[in-house]
């Protein structure tokens, strides 16, 4: 006699998913950078992977992003930056989070970031860098991995 979990529908989706813990991720556009297409694409992919995605909108300062991340108690911040100012702005964001006792929020970055800059960024607290050509599934997998660690 087959055992059927009555709270799951035929696709295995939990019908009582209401208060299941959700991953909350902040997708942030930092600095003077008007390109939001990538951020929106990644936001949609993360949402479709079952996460709660909060989007900051364009031209946010590190100060604003840290405030939003703390209010929203996100697990991860995904910063999108294509302006070239990443070496200034990303470490500043990580520093602010540490100062506000939110150093446990993981920060990843995407956009136009030269490979040579990645070691320094990782030193300052960035957990992963995803340049052009990144598959959205890779970002999803990475987020799921760092959440569980």
């Amino acid at each position: 006699m087959e055992v059927r979990n009555i709270t799951q529908d035929i696709k295995g989706v939990d019908m009582l998913q209401n208060s299941r813990k959700k991953t909350r991720i902040l997708v942030a556009k930092i600095g003077l950078d008007g390109h939001d297409r990538g951020a929106k694409i990644i936001s949609k992919a993360l949402r479709d992977a079952g996460m709660e995605v909060i989007y900051t909108g364009l031209k946010r300062t590190p100060q604003e992003i840290s405030k939003i991340a703390i209010e929203e108690d996100v697990d991860v911040i995904g910063v999108s930056i294509l302006s070239g100012a990443h070496m200034t702005l990303l470490p500043e964001l990580c520093q602010l989070l540490r100062e506000k006792e939110a150093g446990d929020i993981q920060v990843i970055a995407g956009g136009i970031i030269p490979r040579d800059d990645i070691p320094a960024l990782e030193q300052s607290g960035i957990k992963g860098v995803f340049g052009p050509g990144t598959k959205t599934q890779d970002v999803i997998n990475f987020v799921q991995t760092i959440i569980n660690s």
Partner: protein, 317 residues
């Protein structure tokens, strides 16, 4: 209980983490809520409802900064729908809250409905209590905005603001059962568009035809939220409505009714989740029974009676 103490002392980090705890119904959440409850009772809750695209987020941004400038402490809950398939959500309301994002003192939290229908999430009531305990004087809630009668908002808020814009066929929208009855204040936003006066007139006519037991006549306010026009009139009406409820003793009645509903709802939820666990545990609905029902060898009603009659007695859930 570190989070609760931290929140009561004013830590925004603790506040954020506490809301997550309660939203996830994590271990310790009931204990936290019990402690938090004794610090509640001060906040006044205003809900904004209306179809997507009517400008609710922009309006909340303006209302919040206006109240903040008058010395009130403000918190905002922005609720968006979750996907019924993936459970995920895109919470984009706060993008439009440009001025409040810059205001250090105004707290904004984005929430997903997490499967609830009715415009709010199941945790909204408890999150309101946390913001209340944190010291907020006003809590502004933006519902998920289906445009249909979002009755949950009525149960959770003290003043309900219904937002419409001209040109969306709103005269018919407004006639749908429930929308007219739930509004304490009506806002026609984007009032610089065509047909605004026609909509204001339509709403006014429908309100005149309706009946309000508590005697409050809902005002209709024109706004252009992006330009800040009409905002001070709107804020004034919110304060007027609050004063009206207090003076007539209606606020107390509302709160009494809300507590009653909350308790019933919580009892219902606790019992039903206990029952669902139990029937899952004992495999009370095996595939074979489902097959029998589909092939008309058995009816579902009799199966339900069998299941219920075999449930262990309380309080074994």
């Amino acid at each position: 209980m570190g989070l609760v103490d931290g929140m009561l002392k004013g830590s925004v980090r603790a506040l954020g983490k506490l809301i997550t705890l309660i939203e996830n119904e994590s271990p310790g959440s009931t204990e936290a809520l019990k402690k938090i409850f004794y610090h509640t009772g001060n906040a006044y809750v205003v809900g904004l409802t209306g179809a997507p695209g009517t400008g609710k987020s922009t309006l909340i941004d303006q209302i919040a900064t206006s109240l903040n400038a008058q010395g009130y402490k403000v918190g905002i809950l922005a609720i968006d729908p979750s996907s019924p398939f993936t459970g995920g959500a895109f919470l984009g309301d706060r993008i439009r809250m440009i001025r409040t994002n810059e205001e250090q003192d105004i707290y904004i939290r984005s929430m997903s409905t997490r499967g609830s229908l009715g415009g709010l999430s199941a945790a909204t009531g408890n999150v309101i209590k946390i913001l209340d305990a944190f010291g907020k004087d006003f809590i502004l809630i933006e519902t998920a905005g289906t445009g249909q009668a979002e009755v949950d908002v009525m149960n959770q808020t003290e003043t309900t603001v219904v937002v419409a814009v001209p040109g969306l066929g709103d005269e018919i929208q407004m006639m749908k059962a429930g929308v007219m009855e739930i509004g304490d204040i009506f806002v026609v936003n984007k009032a610089d568009k065509d047909q605004v006066d026609k909509l204001v007139e339509e709403i006014g006519k429908m309100l005149a035809m309706g009946y309000r037991s508590e005697g409050w006549v809902p005002p209709v306010i024109k706004t252009v939220a992006t330009k800040g026009e009409g905002i001070s009139a709107l804020v004034q009406e919110i304060l007027n409505h609050r004063r009206y409820l207090v003076e007539k003793g209606l606020l107390q009645d509302k709160r009494m009714e809300r507590v009653q509903k909350e308790i019933l709802e919580m009892v219902k939820n606790k019992v039903s989740s206990g029952i669902i666990s139990r029937i899952t545990e004992v495999n009370a609905i095996p595939q074979s029974s489902l097959n029998e029902i589909l092939s008309r060898q058995k009816d579902p009603y009799s199966l339900v009676e069998e299941i219920v009659n075999h449930l262990p007695p309380f309080p074994r859930y």
